[in-house]
Assembly symmetry: C2
Homo-oligomer: 338 residues x 2
Amino acid sequence: MARVRPPRRNGIREVAAAAGVSVGTVSNVINSPDLVAGSTRQRVESAMRQLAFVRNGLAHQLRAGRSATVGAVVLDLANPFFTEVNRSVEDRLAEDDCVLIVCSTDEKIDKEARYLRLLEEQGVRGILITPTDPGSERIAQIRARGLPVVLMDCPSPVPQMCSVAVDDVQGGDLAAGHLIARGHRRIAFFNGPRTIRQCADRSLGMRNALRRADLDPAHLMEVTLSGDATTEGAVAHLETVLSGPDVPTAIACVSDVVALGVLRGLRQRGIRVPDEMAVVGYDDVPFAAELYTPLTTIRQPKQQLGRAAAELLLDEADPEHVHQQIVLHPELVIRSSS
Amino acid sequence: MARVRPPRRNGIREVAAAAGVSVGTVSNVINSPDLVAGSTRQRVESAMRQLAFVRNGLAHQLRAGRSATVGAVVLDLANPFFTEVNRSVEDRLAEDDCVLIVCSTDEKIDKEARYLRLLEEQGVRGILITPTDPGSERIAQIRARGLPVVLMDCPSPVPQMCSVAVDDVQGGDLAAGHLIARGHRRIAFFNGPRTIRQCADRSLGMRNALRRADLDPAHLMEVTLSGDATTEGAVAHLETVLSGPDVPTAIACVSDVVALGVLRGLRQRGIRVPDEMAVVGYDDVPFAAELYTPLTTIRQPKQQLGRAAAELLLDEADPEHVHQQIVLHPELVIRSSS
DNA sequence: ATGAAAGCGCTAACAT
DNA sequence: ATGTTAGCGCTTTCAT
């Protein structure tokens, strides 16, 4: 029965023995120090130090019924937008001694499903998610099992669920409105798949702006990057647009990362920005201002988003909790690319 | 005794009851399906589906003694270097059904200590860390308690510990060597605090290059950004350097993020790059090529780094495991800023 | 092939 | 103020 590697760490039991008290007392000095007499407490604490005691959080959580981990399911951890959101989430969680598990879905529904299950098994305290489909049965089921879910960067389709979103219709409107004001009429939109709400909404916003300017919204040349809404994907799709029959004078992009690819492709072809082609991005990532052509973009309140989402999730423990749908607003940042 | 919110999820027990078998059998269909008869298995599986069974990972891990979480302690989750490393780690872990907990220390030793404790309590399977001090007592103790630790972006000071590093001395050498070859003699180095190994090593490498060119290494004008090795920090420190008695002709930076600040500050002052001032970065983050002035930089093999680190960590479970210190190599990428 | 039962390390009554 | 003990949900011998 001898285990091979049992540098098993000391538990509450060893501490109790060393301090000459019962395990219950040790538990109390950890969880309700005021219940135990000063002298005993000192003895126990010194024993803990001596034995390098680290409480087994799993056992704790199993018994106490609540864990110290929160899961964040986002499209891509390496995307600078989510990166900043996650950082804010992490900081907020730290205030409550919670820790963040990150998961990238790459917009793949099966990866999403897999991670959701993993997180649920893991017994996370709750899940923050930028869902591929906010109305999905899967999310409803998770909530039905009592696990708090907060939608991040996505408005809740139902009132009983928390969400923090940024108004993407407004964002799209801002972007297109700006281009129209600059005199552009043939506008392309490098968008992600419309099945992603952000993409659909931004598209809608752009069409609203066109309509308001008495332009036919159908003339928006929407290019769909499915699964390749990346810098490289954009470079690839640029070819198609430029060699088409109806070359646009402006390209709006669903993200700064995509805009980066557009700028790169344009530069490779010697097409000047903004003179020959205007470009606008989305997100306002940290480097947007320092690009070869500083990028006009739609700024998202990333930190607020992360912090608010974390806060809502932590709050769900509270029985008095009311479900909130927070909507934040984007902002047009004009630079040189348009 | 009635709990307030008990939408408690169904456990192995409920499944057992529904399927008319014992809990042991249910456990077996989960963990050793071949031990149980086909028909029983089917009954159990259908019961699991019916009851939306999700196994309690905490209990599982408590009993089985190994968890499915791995912690990564890095300087800053939002830093594009770590962002890419983490993403690779995440992907590698996913292959083993593990999940990643991320922690940003901001180079603060107390934050690091706090997160390490949290992770250890959390019962992570192991810890990947970019330590503020790789030789710290704290890390040694963690390992002594049987928790695998792999140093990331840092060579192990001792042979019994795994590590994946990138040769930073070489990187510094590459950067300075390049500037020297371009004719620069007065070189400034916007570095982080030398207590961080990467910073110390890159500085060393730069001095090596100077020495090789028969230049006095003491002439390297090293500017220390402590706790503000950020874009903003760099902008602030630039003032000091430019108004000093001995203005450099080139600025090397400890990261692309810092270089971004230098470029920004230079641009604000109308100083042309590279004509009036050469700049080189470090990391080769995704946007480095698309900056206003495309950035000459030292490329780090970020994906390899993350993947290798995750692999080493996962391997430590293996009793046959040997401790490896992997050293990867950086690469000079010349663009227009120098 | 399946069941019964003893824990994993901890918490929370309840007893003293 | 401290000790005792019954579990949390699961795995894992050991019987059957």
